[in-house]
Each structure stands twice: as C-alpha cells, then as structure tokens.
Symmetry: C2
Subunit: 352 residues, 2 copies
Amino acid sequence: MPGVTLHDVAAAAGVHPSTASRALDPAKEDLVSEATRRRVVAAAARLGYRPHLGARGLKRGRTATVGVVAADLGNPFVTPLLHGIAAALEEVRSLPLIAETQDDHDRFERILDHMLSRRVDAIVTTAARTADREMLEDAARHTPVVVAARALPGSSLPQALHDDVSGAELAAAHLAALGHVRVAQLRGPLDVANFTQRAAGFSARCSREGIVEVPVAETAERPVAEEGQRLMHRLLTTGDGLPTAVFPHNDLMALGALAALEEAGLRCPADVSIIGYNDTEILARTAPPLTSVSYPSREVGEAAGRMAIALTDGSGPVESVSLPPTLVVRASTTPPGPGQGPARERAPAAAD
Amino acid sequence: MPGVTLHDVAAAAGVHPSTASRALDPAKEDLVSEATRRRVVAAAARLGYRPHLGARGLKRGRTATVGVVAADLGNPFVTPLLHGIAAALEEVRSLPLIAETQDDHDRFERILDHMLSRRVDAIVTTAARTADREMLEDAARHTPVVVAARALPGSSLPQALHDDVSGAELAAAHLAALGHVRVAQLRGPLDVANFTQRAAGFSARCSREGIVEVPVAETAERPVAEEGQRLMHRLLTTGDGLPTAVFPHNDLMALGALAALEEAGLRCPADVSIIGYNDTEILARTAPPLTSVSYPSREVGEAAGRMAIALTDGSGPVESVSLPPTLVVRASTTPPGPGQGPARERAPAAAD
DNA sequence: CTGTTAGCGCGTTCAA
DNA sequence: TTGAACGCGCTAACAG
C-alpha cells in the first residue's frame, strides 16, 4: 500500500501516533508497555508500514546519506573506491549518493551545491583538482567534507590518501635495481596533486640512483589510455634515443603506452619495460601482466567512509591517513636488453 | 551559514515565505512582481540560501533520487551501466542512490526495503536473479521498478536489456566460420537469466552448424575470473580431448580461462581460441586482445535511466527494450591449429 | 500580485 | 506509561 503512515499504524493499534513512534523506535521501545508495543509492531507489519526516512530526516537533521563525488565512473580505478566507501557506510545504514564531475570545475560546483541542498550528512570527494580547493573548503563550512584518493595539498580538510611520492620512488628503485639507467615518465595531468607527487618522487629517486630521465615535453590532459598512447608515441618519435623503461603515471596510461609500443613494432618488456600505477586488478591477468605500484583503493575508500561517519556523529577527532604503497612485480619489467640503448633507432617512422 | 531557511530569506526581503517560495520557483516566478522577485533573489543570494530538498520532497512527494541496485561494484561491467544511468538521470537533476547486493537475496531485500523507505522516485536493478522476481514485483507495487542488464523472464516489469541469445549465437557462428568443430562453453550461474540465454543461444547455433560441444559438468557460482579459471582447469584435466575453442560466458571468466591455459602450458589462440562476452573496454588492449560479443552497457544504462524517469512522471507508456549485440573480432580467436584435435594431450598434470 | 492557512510524516517536548 | 501539542522547511490551496 502506498503511503501507510505512522498515523495509520497508530489508529490500527488504537494508540496515539507518538506512542506508535516510541514503540517502533528501538532506542525508546522500553518507554512503552510490552503489550502496546506488540500491538503496534503487529499493526505496522500487517499494514506494511515503512517509515518515511525523508520526514524523519527533516526532524532529526540526518539523512543517512553521504554524497560521493567521482571524476569519472568509467575509470576502473574508482570502482574499488566506491566499493570501500559503500562498505563503510553500510555499517551505519547509510547509502552513497553518487555524482560525476568529468573533471569539470563548474560541474563539480553544481554537484556540491546539489548535495548540500539535499543535506547529505557528509561529502566524500575523489575528484579533487588543485583548482577545486577553495570551493571544497567553502562547502566544508556547511557539511563535513572528506578528501579521498586525490590529494588536496595545503588544505586542512581531512584526507584519506595514499603516499604517491613513496609509490613513485618504489617504481624508480625497482627500475634501478633491474639495471636501467635511461628511463622516462609519462606524466598525468598536473592539476591533480597525485601526479605531481608521482613525478617528483620518481625524479628524486632517479637522480639519487644516477638514472637519466629522458624528458617528455607534454603531460596527459586526462589520465586515460588514449593519452598514454599519445605521449608514448611522441616519446618514440622524438628521436632522442629511447629509454629502456617507461613509467606512465597510471595503469590506464600504461595500457595506452603498450599499444603505442606495439604499433611501433617494439615489444614489452624485451625492448622497453613498463611500470604502471594502481595495480588495477584486471591488468594483473593480461599479457604482459603489468608490473605496477599497488594502490589500496578499497582500503582508501573504506577509510574515507569511516572518516565521513566519524565527522557526522562527531565521535572523536578525525585524522587524515595516508596508506603506504607496495610494489607488485610482474612481467612487464625486466633488466634492459642487450640490443638496448640510446643508439637504438627502430622503425619509429612506422608508428604513423 | 548552516540552516538559512526560506523563512529567513522572506524576512530579509520583507515578504511572506510563500511569496519567497514562488519567487524562487522558476515555474512560478511570473506570479510575482518583478520587483519583489529581485528583492527575494538578492536576499537569497546574500544569505547563501539553499533550498532544503528533503523538505521539498516531503511536500511534493518526489525526492529526485533513483535507487540503483548493483550486484557487485567490483565488476568492471557495472561501471558503464552506472555511467549511463547517471547520465540519463542528470537531465532531470536526479541522482542515483547506489547499493550492492553481492548476489545475496536477503541483502537485496534489505536494500529494497531501505530504498522504499527513502521514497526514491524509482528503482533500477541490475542485479536480478530469478529468485528475486517476486520480491521485485512486490516492490513495484509501491515504486516504479526498472529491470536492467540482468533479465527477469516472465515478468511484466519494464526491462532494459540486451539480446543474449543472439549474442551467444553470434559467438557460435564466428567459431563455426573459423572452422572449429569442437568447442566448449564455460557457463555462468544459472540463476542469472542472461547466462542461461547465452548457453541456449550458443548450443542452438552449434547444433545447427554441426559443431560438437564438449560438456563441462559444472557452472560458475559467480561470473568472475576465479571461476572461469576453475572451470577451464577442469575442462583441461577432464581428458575427454580438448576443444579447439572455448566460450566463457563473460570477459572476466575469459580472463580466468586464459590464466588456466597458460598454467597448462597452452597458448591462446594457437592452441585454443577464446571468445568472451561484454567487450570490456580494458580487455581490448591486452594481449591477446579478446574477441568478444559487445554488450552496449552504457546504452542499456541510459535506456534504463530514461525508463525510470518516464515511469516517475508518467510521461507516456514505458516499453521494454532489448539492444542488439555485435561481435568484435580481435586476436584471441583464429582457425583451429594443425596440432589440434581430440588426440592432443598436453601436460594437464602440470596444471596443478 | 500577495498573504493566510494548512499540512506533508515524523519525533520530541511537556503534562498528565 | 501515554496523550497533546508543536515544529522541522517547504509548497499548495484559497483568499483577498
């Protein structure tokens, strides 16, 4: 039956609505005699009563809803994040309300506005770019905001992150240990802090290890396969001499880089080693299985969800967390091959 | 400022709340003099007023929210579905509220209950199993329910689907055209209608083409890589003689099947061709690029979203749709090799 | 064109 | 232990 209200239940049980309310509230059921409680519960069940969470929210000031902002739902990287967030929220019977910015600042603004209008209990963003900072801090004056996955440096908002500097250092150290001395990175968009951190960590470790970095003039506009392919192609055709290993800033870009290699008639890892970032589950099983810095997305999501909950019910202070990276070595990285080196010039012209 | 209400705006503008309400409602702003309208709008802006969508919903009976139920957010297959749904909803400024069943009936029931309590405007489920039918039809008596992606045969609920029978026939026809005469399928869970349809379509076409199907005793408990790997392993060790081509019921299972092949020292497609289902974007770029039946997930999601909207505002009748499959041929399928055949027995023992 | 009144469904006073 | 009254923030109906 559509619209069975508390009033109806009360009438059916022969009590006042407020008594019915108490009888049905686990926190207050002992303020009611056992007999009437049972009558109310029975009536509710019989009529198919369902509390109206919207009305309850209006009264209690809580909506049991957390806004979740993602940059691109099409990126497999976000799925485990959402998964972790949803899992954490479930413990308090809260649900995520999801929207997608497509990395557009104005869209992001509209989304925040909408979520604030809905009076979500908290907002978790996984889509922050540096330009979004002020807007997010503004929103945080109304509703708790948790920054997840994509860092917002210099902000005092609580953040659930992963240490991208160390992760990139891990990548560089791995290549150094294999004996590479000439490498390149394919950089992700610079207005996403994670990528500038990866770039910095990688370069720092390279110089410490005495590795030469072949510069790639451009950066990706978006961290996707097409852009990885474009940058790799550019690297291959620049003619400065190939590096023996390449670090695209995430797995999607690594996938594109692999495609560009193949187009150019080069092989991975025989000709060029590739090391990715994120440890995307599905890429662990493909050929060549991708060596990648593991990003604990699900755990980051869970942490963010728990932080959102803590902020909502004010249970103690909320500390930012940064989970450590690990390296998963698979088949896309090997020591540099004998035929390798700056002098090698192989069919880059064919790559068009 | 937290909690600026319409009342505050009205006071600041020196008008009655209901006048302020009208002035701020695009659909009614012409019932108000231009002068007062401007005063109200200015006051709202100055105070940082944000309408309380919850309260509005209580009054109007609409929440601008659509419940979306997924089986497993960890499956890359759902991302484009969500994407399509979110895109469709955005046009009416509605947002998806997402929950995950993990293919558990009781969880599904709790989720539906929760969503009905929230008075979502409609529910889109992409997680239907045959056992969920009655429950869903029950829910549909309160709130419009759209069945997407996973079919619910025999139900009169509106459905946004894809033709799995034809898709599987396409797969069989492709293998037949390549000259395969001995094939096998790795079946997904039988309580998901899509997989029984794929099984039926594939078998029908095989017998019409005179192709022999090597039976695989078991079916996957869940349509995931591990299960694909397990079934493939089983097929390889059964000793009945290998098929020259295998049809796992989705790309994830295909990925597992590839892993099992490799474990057994067999190669794809040289020794065994593999054809998947879903055309998962990321697997198009891996080695071997997977031949797959293309499932237009995003379009199915969009269609489902539009259907949910139509049901919500009763704009015309809502027809179920079934989008046609296409085949994307890549490198994982080739004609059967010369070394192939029932007699071939290769290191299955090593696969343990 | 604007103000008044009423109530969406619920939970929380305060009395009895 | 229960009932009465009120209000969360907003909008729809009805007056004026």
